[in-house]
C-alpha cells in the first residue's frame, strides 16, 4: 500500500467530507429543534448558489458576493419558516418532513425556471494551482472548504453554549412547551434555526459548486450523503454531524480506490447499517428519551 496515495486520498476525502459536514450540520440543527428532517437543505443551498451566480454576473467581486449570499441565505431560511412553515406548525414533525420534500421540487423547479436547466460555471473562492507539500497535493478550494467547516463549527458551538439565543435554542430542543412557559419566544427560535440552517446550506452550495458544477441537480447527491453523515453521527449531535461528514468523505474515497468506484455508495451504506446495529444512536448520539 502506497502511503503517499493513501494520504492524498484522505486529504481529498476530507475536502469533500467537509461539504457533507456543513450540509449535515444544517439538517441536524433543524432536527434537534423541530424533530423534522429537512430534505430540502441541499436544494436551499443550490438555490442560493444560483443567486450568487446572478450577482457574479452583475460584476460584483466574488468575495463580496460570498458574504452577501451567506447573509441572504440566512434570510432565505427565515423566510421559509416565517412564510410557510409557520402556518403548519401545529402539524407533526412528519408532516413538516413531507413539506420539505415538496420544497425540493419547488426549489428545483423555480431554479430551472429562472436560470435554466443547463450547467453554469462557478468560480472558486481561492484560485490557482494546488498546494504541494511532501508529495501531498491539496486543492485550494479544499483548503477553503476545510477552514470554513472548522470556523463554522467553532462559531456554532460558541453560539449554542455562550449566547442567549443559543441557550434559548437548546431550551426549545429540550422541551418546547417548558421553554414557552419560561418566556422563550419559540416562534423566533424556529425562525432563527431555519435561518442558520439556510446559511449553512448556502455555504455548502457555494463551496460545492466550483468543484462540481452549478446546475439544478447539483445538491441531490450531496443532500443524500449529508443525510447519511448525519445518521452516522447520531442525527442529533453537532460534533457527530461534522465527524460523520468527514468520515464519509474519506471512506468513499478509500472504497472507490481500493475496492471499486461502483461500490462506493453501497459499501458506505452497509457500513452505516453496521454502525447503527452496533450503536443504534450513531457514533455520537445521546440516548433519546421519548417525551410522552
Amino acid at each position: 500500500m502506497n502511503t503517499l496515495i493513501l494520504s492524498n486520498l484522505i486529504v481529498s476525502g476530507l475536502g469533500t467530507g467537509a461539504i457533507y459536514a456543513i450540509v449535515a450540520l444544517g439538517i441536524v440543527f433543524i432536527f434537534r429543534t423541530m424533530e423534522a428532517v429537512n430534505f430540502a437543505e441541499g436544494d436551499m443551498g443550490m438555490f442560493m448558489t444560483f443567486v450568487a451566480f446572478s450577482l457574479i454576473c452583475l460584476k460584483i467581486p466574488y468575495p463580496l458576493v460570498f458574504i452577501i449570499v451567506v447573509a441572504l441565505s440566512f434570510l432565505f431560511g427565515v423566510l421559509v419558516e416565517k412564510g410557510i412553515l409557520q402556518f403548519i406548525k401545529g402539524m407533526s414533525p412528519m408532516a413538516i418532513t413531507i413539506v420539505t420534500l415538496g420544497f425540493v421540487m419547488v426549489f428545483q423547479g423555480l431554479a430551472g425556471f429562472i436560470w435554466g436547466t443547463d450547467t453554469k460555471p462557478f468560480p472558486p473562492l481561492w484560485k490557482g494551482p494546488p498546494i504541494k507539500a511532501h508529495g501531498i497535493i491539496l486543492g485550494r478550494q479544499d483548503v477553503v472548504t476545510l477552514i470554513t467547516a472548522f470556523v463554522i463549527f467553532i462559531i456554532f458551538v460558541l453560539l449554542l453554549k455562550k449566547t442567549k439565543i443559543g441557550i434559548a435554542v437548546r431550551a426549545v430542543s429540550e422541551d418546547r412547551y417548558a421553554a414557552l412557559l419560561m418566556g422563550v419566544r419559540v416562534s423566533t427560535i424556529f425562525a432563527f434555526v431555519w435561518g442558520f440552517s439556510g446559511l449553512l446550506a448556502g455555504l455548502g452550495g457555494m463551496l460545492a459548486a466550483p468543484r462540481f458544477s452549478l446546475d439544478v441537480n447539483m445538491m441531490t447527491t450531496i443532500q443524500l450523503e449529508a443525510f447519511t453523515a448525519a445518521v452516522l453521527g447520531g442525527f442529533s449531535s453537532i460534533p457527530g454531524a461534522i465527524f460523520g461528514g468527514l468520515t464519509l468523505g474519506v471512506l468513499e474515497n478509500l472504497i472507490s480506490f481500493y475496492v471499486s468506484s461502483s461500490l462506493k455508495e453501497p459499501i458506505s451504506l452497509i457500513i452505516i447499517v453496521v454502525v447503527l446495529l452496533v450503536s443504534p444512536n450513531g457514533l455520537f448520539g445521546k440516548k433519546m428519551n421519548k417525551k410522552v
Partner: protein, 392 residues
C-alpha cells in the same frame, strides 16, 4: 345546470368532429397515393427528415435540421433532382426512441417519402432503422455513430464515422503527434459510446507501442473523479484519454488540474459543445478532441459551406450541421444517380456513391459505413482550433 348540459354537448360535438376530421384526412392521404404515375411525375420528390429539435438533444437537432434544409435549397436552386423539386417533410423525434419510431412510420405510411435522412442520436436511429428496412425505404443517419445502426439492414447507411474509429484516431494522434508513451484512460462504464471509444483507443495505442498505465471506469452520474484521477496520476502519465460527454469531461479536466496535472487531455466528439468550456473553464486549455468537421479547414468546399451557412443562419456551422448537410446531399445525389425514386435503385446507388462532402470524402464499405478522415481540434482559451486531419 342548463349551462353544464350545453357545455357537455359542445364538447362532445367537438370530439366527434375531431374524430371524423382525422378519418377524413386519412382517406385524403390514401387517395393521394392511388394517383397514377403521370400526375406524380410533376409532383415534388418527398424526402423525410428526422431530428430532435426539442428535448435533451435540441441543439444537436437544430443544427442538423439547418444542414438538411440548406442542402435541399441548393438542389432546388439548381433545378431539383431528376427534374423535379425536392421537398422536406420534417419530424421532431425529441431524442426519444418511441417518438422516432412513430415519426418513421408516419413518414413512410402517411407521407410516402422516397427516402429518410435521420435521426441524430443512435438510440433514435436504432428505433427507426428497422421500420425503414421493413418498408424498403433507404435511410441515412447523418450523425449516429453506434456500430449497430447500420447492422439493421442493407437499406441503412450513415454519413459519420463509427465509434471505434475515433479511438484509433486518438491513439495515432497521441502517439505520433504528441509523442505520448504513457497514457491513463478514464471513461463512463455505463455508456456504450464511452466504453467503445476507450476500448478501441487502448487496443490501438498498445499496438503502436504505447503503455496504458491505468484504465479507469466510473459509474454513470459520477461528479467526483478524484480517486480515478489519483490512480492515473500515480503512474505519471504523459496524457489522459477521456472519451466521455462534455459535462463529465469538463469536470474531469477541472479536477485533474486541481490535482496538479498540466499535460494534455484528449477526448472524442462528445466534447463538441459550448458547455465544455463553460464547465471546464481554464482547465480545458491544452486539451484535444477528435471530430467530424472543422470550420477552419482550408479546403474550398468547407470554406464555401461555412460562408453560406453563416449568411443564412447567422451562426457558424458545427459538426452536426455539416453532417446533416452531407447526409442530405448524399441521399439526393444517390437519387439522381439512380435515375428513379424506387427504393431498391436508390439503395444500389448509395452503395456505389463517391461523394466529396464538407466532412470529408465519402465512400461506403461493405457494412455501409463511410471510410473517411477525422479532424483533431485543440481548445485554446475557450475556442476550438483546427490542428490536423488524420486519415483512416
Amino acid at each position: 345546470m342548463r349551462k353544464k348540459k350545453t357545455l357537455l354537448l359542445v364538447v362532445s360535438l367537438l370530439l366527434v368532429v375531431a374524430l371524423f376530421g382525422t378519418v377524413l384526412t386519412g382517406c385524403g392521404g390514401n387517395k393521394q397515393s392511388s394517383n397514377n404515375n403521370a400526375t406524380q411525375e410533376k409532383k415534388p420528390i418527398l424526402i423525410g427528415g428526422v431530428a430532435p429539435v426539442t428535448g435533451p438533444a435540441a441543439t444537436f437537432g437544430k443544427s442538423t435540421k439547418q444542414g438538411y434544409e440548406m442542402a435541399l435549397e441548393e438542389w432546388n436552386a439548381k433545378g431539383g433532382v431528376l427534374g423535379r423539386t425536392v421537398k422536406l417533410i420534417f419530424e421532431d423525434d425529441k431524442a426519444d426512441p418511441t417518438e422516432a419510431a412513430n415519426a418513421f412510420s408516419k413518414l413512410i405510411n402517411e407521407n410516402h417519402v422516397v427516402a429518410i435522412v435521420g435521426s441524430v442520436t443512435s438510440s433514435c436511429s436504432l428505433a427507426g432503422a428497422p421500420i425503414a428496412q421493413r418498408n424498403k425505404v433507404p435511410m441515412i443517419t447523418p450523425t449516429s455513430t453506434n456500430v449497430k445502426v447500420t447492422e439493421q439492414g442493407d437499406y441503412i447507411f450513415r454519413a459519420c464515422f463509427i465509434d471505434p474509429f475515433q479511438g484509433t484516431v486518438a491513439a495515432k494522434f497521441l502517439y505520433n503527434n504528441l509523442k505520448a508513451r504513457k497514457v491513463g484512460v478514464i471513461y463512463d462504464i455505463g455508456q456504450d459510446y464511452n466504453a467503445g471509444l476507450a476500448e478501441s483507443f487502448k487496443k490501438k495505442f498498445e499496438s503502436l507501442g504505447g503503455q496504458i498505465i491505468a484504465y479507469e471506469g466510473y459509474p454513470d452520474g459520477t461528479t467526483d473523479f478524484n480517486t480515478q484521477l489519483t490512480k492515473i496520476l500515480d503512474g505519471k502519465p504523459d496524457a489522459i484519454y477521456s472519451p466521455n460527454y462534455y459535462n463529465d469531461d469538463g469536470l474531469i479536466a477541472k479536477q485533474a488540474r486541481s490535482l496538479g496535472f498540466n499535460g494534455p487531455i484528449v477526448g472524442g466528439d462528445g466534447w463538441d459543445s459550448p458547455d465544455l468550456v463553460k464547465i471546464g473553464g481554464d482547465a480545458v486549455n491544452n486539451c484535444y478532441f477528435t471530430n467530424h468537421f472543422s470550420k477552419e479547414s482550408k479546403e474550398e468546399i468547407v470554406q464555401n459551406f461555412v460562408k453560406k451557412y453563416e449568411d443564412k443562419y447567422g451562426e457558424a456551422p458545427d459538426a452536426l450541421a455539416a453532417l446533416g448537410y452531407d447526409g442530405m446531399n448524399i441521399m439526393l445525389t444517390a437519387i439522381q444517380n439512380a435515375g428513379s425514386t424506387d427504393g431498391e435503385a436508390i439503395k444500389d446507388a448509395l452503395k456505389n456513391i463517391d461523394y466529396q462532402g464538407v466532412t470529408g470524402h465519402i465512400k461506403f464499405d461493405e457494412n455501409r459505413n463511410p471510410i473517411k478522415s477525422a479532424v483533431i481540434l485543440k481548445i485554446e482559451n475557450g475556442k476550438q482550433v483546427y490542428v490536423t486531419t488524420i486519415n483512416p
